[in-house]
């Protein structure tokens, strides 16, 4: 009961409601814009959250996450361009349905299924995250090492690159994480006498560079691309018949999305693909899929939004990001002095349940915005790239500079923008770099700390049940890309 009251706290705070309103609106706009999405948006706004208290800051980021994930469906349905990678599966049936003159029905179903999926996942988050948190003091440095290894094994299957390319990108991220003063020896590594680098490379310049700047450079090669738009007369609720047809699919995909979201380093993209394929498998009319099936939209959208709450479970309970956007949220927690992990549930329950409540409200808010604003949001895609992207660039530079008032951070951001551009050009996903950067430091630090604790005896890792479990899970996870590629072949 007390926790329920804590969850409702955002409803009684005008400041938090304002933050939620702004975050949801901003997230929706970002989701609509192809190439942007909640990850880039979160990274862009991260430095500005420093003017907020920690709860408002994380509420802002999570509302962007929830709304941005849904927003990707709008352009996926209207112009066959997913606003976010997680909406890619929505294109498969959303756009054909829109071409039949039923864009409103398609958007309506996307809105309802996203909302149900999102709310379902928050309920999962509320119940399962505290269970994980009970392990609080069972997690020593050896357990964190094993967990980080488990997170790193997911590198192969995250993002849109091939497993080998993902691993290379992840290794690059780990390499970057070694820059700076080694906290266990006090020796500077790869700083070349530049004192500003002794604190290491910050997450924000790298994240903004890899996502926003590299996307800007990519968009600069597509300036004359003309998107074919379809008529949108109205956004309407799905009919009763549509509900009868899809409620099982929505519930199933909500479960699938929540489960996949919980796995560290997985996220909405994989969830929507699997949600879509399972919808097809259980459908009475699988032949309609790819031709405008309402079940296909429901399956993909419920799953990708359900992954948002799921991905917050390992992020908050263990400090391991469940998706690319939660990696940005994790950065937000860290820079606000909040140490994600099991202790958080014991030490700051009001903070955590405030976030859960805010996520719940964000799902309701984007439902309202989605129904009344989808038509307007879709028009953002008409802003010419040559105006839109320089504006985004300006925000990126200001945001990165403002964090530490360091011009070196701006140069780092630009450098990683160029690196990200070439990575994408040659088929590498930039997401593993971020995961490598975050987990690399954890892997190295906890391994060395564990070895000091174990007096150098490696075999002691095997005496710790939780660590051993994560090592076994890591081995299983290594086989996941093979299973996924089989699943993808089936879908296509």
């Amino acid at each position: 009961m007390e926790n329920l009251l804590l969850m409702m706290a955002p409803l009684f705070s005008s400041k938090l409601l304002l933050v939620l309103f702004f975050g949801t609106l901003f997230g929706l706009i970002l989701g609509v814009l192809p190439g942007l999405g909640p990850t880039t948006g979160g990274a862009l706004i991260l430095p500005f959250t420093m003017t907020l208290d920690p709860l408002s800051a994380i509420v802002l980021l999570t509302s962007i996450y929830c709304a941005g994930t849904y927003g990707g469906a709008i352009t996926a349905i209207l112009i066959n361009t997913p606003g976010t990678p997680a909406a890619a599966a929505t294109c498969l049936d959303g756009y054909p349905l829109a071409q039949k003159g039923e864009a409103g029905r398609a958007l309506g179903m996307a809105t309802v299924s996203s909302t149900v999926g999102g709310i379902f996942s928050v309920i999962i988050l509320v119940f399962f995250a505290p269970l994980l948190a009970k392990l609080a003091y069972e997690f020593g440095q050896p357990e964190y090492f094993a967990l980080a290894i488990f997170g790193l094994t997911m590198l192969a299957s995250i993002g849109d690159g091939s497993p080998i390319k993902n691993l290379i990108a992840g290794a690059f991220g780990i390499l970057i994480s070694t820059i700076g003063k080694d906290f266990m020896t006090s020796i500077d590594r790869f700083t070349y006498g530049i004192n500003e680098l002794s604190e290491g490379i910050g997450f924000i310049p790298v994240v903004v560079g890899l996502f926003a700047i590299s996307e800007m450079l990519t968009q600069s090669t597509l300036l004359n691309q003309v998107f074919k738009r379809v008529a949108l007369k109205a956004v309407k609720l799905p009919s009763l018949n549509d509900y009868k047809l899809t409620w099982k699919t929505i519930l199933r995909s909500s479960g699938i999305g929540s489960f996949i979201g919980v796995l560290p380093a997985e996220g909405g993209t994989v969830a929507s693909l699997i949600g879509y394929s399972e919808a097809k498998r259980f459908s009475k009319k699988p032949e309609d899929f790819g031709k405008g099936s309402i079940e296909g939209i429901a399956g993909a959208e419920a799953a990708n939004n359900a992954a948002t709450g799921g991905a917050m479970v390992p992020t908050l309970a263990l400090g391991i990001p469940g998706s690319a956007t939660t990696a940005v949220i994790l950065t937000g927690l860290i820079i606000h002095g909040v140490r994600p992990g099991p202790d958080l549930f014991r030490e700051q329950p009001e903070f955590l349940y405030g976030i859960f409540g805010a996520m719940l409200i964000a799902n309701v808010l984007f439902f309202i915005f989605g129904f009344f604003g989808a038509k307007i949001f879709a028009r953002i895609t008409l802003v010419p790239n040559k105006i839109l992207w320089p504006m985004i660039f300006a925000v990126s530079v200001c945001g990165t500079y403002s964090l530490s008032q360091s011009i070196i951070d701006v140069w780092i951001m630009l450098l990683f923008g160029v690196i990200g551009f070439f990575m994408r050009r040659y088929g590498f996903s930039v997401v593993p770099v971020i995961i490598g950067l975050i987990l690399g430091e954890l892997v190295e630090g906890t391994l060395r700390q564990s070895l000091v604790i174990f007096d150098g005896n490696w075999l002691m890792f095997l005496t710790r049940p939780i660590a051993l479990t994560f090592f076994i899970l890591s081995l299983i996870a290594l086989a996941f890309p093979l299973l996924r590629s089989k699943k993808r072949k089936k879908i296509l």
Binding site: K181, N195, S198, L223, G337, R339, V397, C398, V410
Partner: protein
């Protein structure tokens, strides 16, 4: 190259030029409006950041001048000191100087010397504590010492080459005890978790960092590295009482660049002292387990800075961190 692409590149270039070149100018001009720069080297929400912000709360009003927090991270404080030296000696800035800056100077990471800085006031003086699991025998200080006579204890510290491992090593050397095994962490939270789990024996912490667990009865303070016992943990003896005279603390105070007009220096010192005598600041000290004796004026603070630098230089040399 297509015309639109050229236009795009030109726009991007102009925007870059504006922000990359103009941003520092914009921030400088903002400061020229009369605000005092309060320079720190620490991350947001850390002890130094919070101490500085708490001082700023009232100092703005007392000095009748706006104060802006300027964050200059890097080099363990070296970047912040170098930045201060790049400013004119006009008393329009302060730097929060800490034990970390002393370490950075001792390690030769900056050419700035103590004689380049004008002490203003001290904000906190937080003694180093040896914190243990309350279930462990070594919560009794005498058993702590006798245990370390026969075996090396594992000490959790924040980083190495700083006040924490210097505290552990100075204590064991002066006490003729077995060398400590240092397990370095990036923050205090895992030190506490590992102490409770039993993976390490001792955590080198400040009172405010472990106050929640101490109040809960999960963690106990075995030994205090201060001249006198601390009011909140009056049962915990000092190292000196136990015959090992080691006194070390995490200290934060304020300085400005040497050469500022004497009147301005006095004005800043008086303003800070008044600001830190306000209830806001006193409550903050209480929250972190300290009292108003933390706050002292320029003379005492300047003398302590010299002692600290000399002590850290000697200790780091003994540990092999510097020649």
């Amino acid at each position: 190259m297509k015309k639109s692409f050229k236009l795009f590149l030109a726009t991007a270039f102009l925007v870059t030029e504006f922000f990359v070149i103009a941003l520092p100018m914009l921030t400088t001009s903002a400061r020229a409006d009369g605000a005092i720069q309060a320079i720190t080297h620490a991350g947001f929400g850390g002890g130094t950041d919070v101490t500085t912000r708490m001082m700023l709360l009232r100092a703005r009003r007392v000095l009748k001048q706006d104060m802006q927090l300027v964050n200059k991270k890097g080099g363990g404080g070296a970047v912040s000191m170098d930045y201060m030296m790049s400013l004119p000696a006009d008393g329009q800035h302060t730097l929060t100087w800490t034990t970390g800056h002393a370490v950075s100077m001792a390690l030769g990471k900056t050419k700035v010397k103590l004689s380049d800085m004008q002490p203003l006031a001290r904000g906190t003086d937080d003694p180093q504590l040896f914190v243990v699991n309350c279930k462990a025998d070594i919560k009794d200080a005498k058993k702590f010492i006798s245990a370390q006579k026969s075996k090396s204890l594992k000490y959790g510290t924040t980083h190495v080459g700083g006040i924490d491992d210097v505290s552990a090593i100075a204590f064991t050397k002066k006490g003729g005890l077995k060398d400590p095994t240092i397990v370095a962490y990036k923050g205090v939270a895992p030190i506490k978790t590992n102490l409770i789990k039993g993976d390490i024996d001792v955590g080198v912490l400040n009172l405010g960092e472990a106050l929640t667990e101490i109040n809960e009865g999960t963690l106990c303070v075995s030994i205090v590295l201060a001249n006198n016992r601390m009011a909140k943990i009056g049962d915990s003896p000092t190292a000196t009482e136990l015959g090992i005279p080691v006194v070390l603390s995490t200290v934060r105070g304020f300085v400005t660049k040497k050469g500022a007009p004497a009147e301005r220096v006095k004005e800043l010192e008086a303003g800070m002292m008044k600001a830190m005598s306000h209830n806001y600041y006193k409550n903050f000290l209480t929250e972190i387990g300290l009292d108003e004796t933390s706050v002292v004026g320029a003379d005492e603070w300047g003398a302590q800075m010299e002692v600290m630098l000399a002590e850290m230089t000697a200790q780091l040399k003994a540990l092999g961190y510097t020649n």
